[in-house]
Subunit: 203 residues, 4 copies
DNA sequence: TATGAATGAGAATTCATTCAT
DNA sequence: GATGAATGAATTCTCATTCAT
């Protein structure tokens, strides 16, 4: 097996474990077992646990920011840009559920330990949103708004939605909870986008 | 110092540490030092770490659900109920920032380890929201909607907002970020409430 | 058992192991077993291996320098001072053979890792010797000399002698080696003292 | 690079590392990096760490004993022999400072782990000294003496001197220490030889 | 011969918990 | 109730050695 393969395999496996158990709750022995590699191999490829964490986060966060930015830049109208921003974020987040868990944990820690590269990716997404809103505002399409709250609305809502997917699937289907099982990420993203855009549009 | 005092002091301190570092990241030695009590005293008062965690979460989650329910039940109109629901949740969350951090972490873990009492408090809040939405729907005020997404919208948005308060205060005040510093929890809750209600109202 | 007892027991045992196996060759597991204490107890009392090493060296080196200085200061004549210096050093070194081994190892490493407190004790001994030689010189008793070489002569010779005591006792008593077994530290110190003083005395 | 070159390069590098860090403190990874060879190459050339250590010590100790013996055998008078013995030992020790460090460490360990070939070289030197002293004694030139102490005096003093050369060069040149910087191995050997011979000569 | 990758056996350190007073 | 000391079970990380090419 080539270096790239093993290193990548470790990274993927580590991402899942960091997402599920957090940094402190992830045990290197368990990781090695899950990966099917020797414990020392992890250290051969990734120096130490902290570095592995950094590497994993960078590998997760970067393509997400890239995808959102690329999709938005293919649009010109602020309304469409905002909708694409939200829907693309929802889609890539759903594709890699590790992202949502890790981001939520890092935010819970106050972002104090978030590796700089990962933090920068989040800033790229936030700044992109700010540009969309400002551009919509200067075109007279959007009302003045607080970008950070909208950022949190998008991320908070959709991350919780993605995170809760496995949880909801194991819930007993009581009458009261039945309706909750139906929604999927697409419709959730639609609803979030529609809600936010509706509140922004100049009547 | 009375038993109650010491026990309470430990609980408060533990809440803060669990919020900041998570369950696995909270070290009993550090907790003892932060509390200013002997490590063995923690065990005298709280059996073990898992029990202490349960106790802390119950102490945090219960009054929050209580406050939201009480405030909502003082209202009769669904629109007002929903607004009060959101604003009360925002206020009590801001009053005890531990709640947001711990909830985010627990959701990131898929809720797998969340103590039952704490989980029940979250369900009380969710079920309250469902009743509000259904009542509004049956009165012809609200459109049909997905309660879970709205739940996530409220919790995700406001929790991230509360969690990010200390973070934002340490950010350098660049032009680009300046506007982000101004918002407070009141106006954030207003914006969330207005946005959600606007999207629900039958035009 | 009181804290002092356990801490001291660990220190004594560690000194012996550091002397015999060196810093890198001393295994904390073995040390715990030799001491008859739990491994974690070592860390409870001494933070980590490096600190334990520092503590052990300080505990070994300080009384040795103290004893030499005290004995020398009870004398007034340089010749007697020098003889007492050498004989006292020999006696205390023989009393605690760890000292010689550790000092030899540290010198072999270039003193790079020797804890500052231990190094200072060696400097106290060297400076004392320099004062003796200078005082003898200014009184016209001693010829001019190189203090460092005399320092090395004392320490190197007597340390090797002390270190080799157990080695010699296990040697097969061949004809050729037989005579080597007889000498003791007292006579060795005498011979060193006599040799050095003879070479220093103004004829 | 030829087999011989690589093997030799590893041996030289290993000698330096064993001298500086000891057997246990020498890490094969570091050695490979210092040598500029792949770690597996070390094993291709030298079986394992213990064998490499044996090889290194044999390569260091043998020429030293050879040189001392050859130089002494060129002399006939015991006094001259003894002086040549000391001065040659000093010179070859200074030429390869690894020797002194390794010997000091091995003596500190009680010689327990010293490879047999290296130990034999030290015995050749000691037996040579014994022959010189006995010959001087039977010729009525030397008084009766303890060869082992004289052996230790030579080795201990000069080894410490050689070992401390780099240390002394980094010392701050205070008034008190200034004089220590001046001496070189030649004069140190002279002083040792003169001192020892003076104490041996029948008056 | 040379080398990147892999690994089993350790070794240092941590941590939740308990004990004795 | 409180506390210094003790400890067994992890947990992170290291290191000599081997493998495959």
């Amino acid at each position: 097996m080539t270096r790239i393969d093993t290193s990548r395999k470790i990274l993927d496996c580590a991402s899942r474990m960091f997402a599920q158990h957090g940094y402190d709750g992830t045990i290197m022995d368990d990781l090695a077992e899950q990966c099917g590699v020797n414990k020392a191999s992890i250290y051969y490829h990734h120096k130490d646990k902290a570095t592995l964490y950094d590497n994993a986060l960078t590998a997760i966060f970067t393509p997400i920011a890239d995808a959102v930015i690329e999709a938005v830049e293919a649009q010109v109208e602020p309304v469409k840009q905002l909708r694409v921003h939200i829907k693309t974020f929802a889609r890539v987040t759903a594709d890699n559920p590790c992202f949502a868990s890790i981001l939520m944990r890092e935010m819970a820690s106050g972002g104090a330990n978030m590796p700089v590269p990962a933090r920068q990716q989040m800033q790229r997404i936030l700044f992109l949103l700010m540009r969309i809103l400002q551009s919509g505002e200067s075109q007279g399409v959007f009302r003045s708004s607080d970008a950070l709250i909208i950022h949190f609305m998008i991320i908070g809502t959709l991350n919780l939605f993605v995170i809760s997917i496995p949880l909801r699937q194991t819930l007993p289907a009581t009458d009261q909870l039945e309706q909750l099982q139906n929604s999927n990420i697409e419709s959730a993203a639609d609803q979030v986008a529609t809600t936010i855009i509706a509140s922004l549009l100049v009547k």
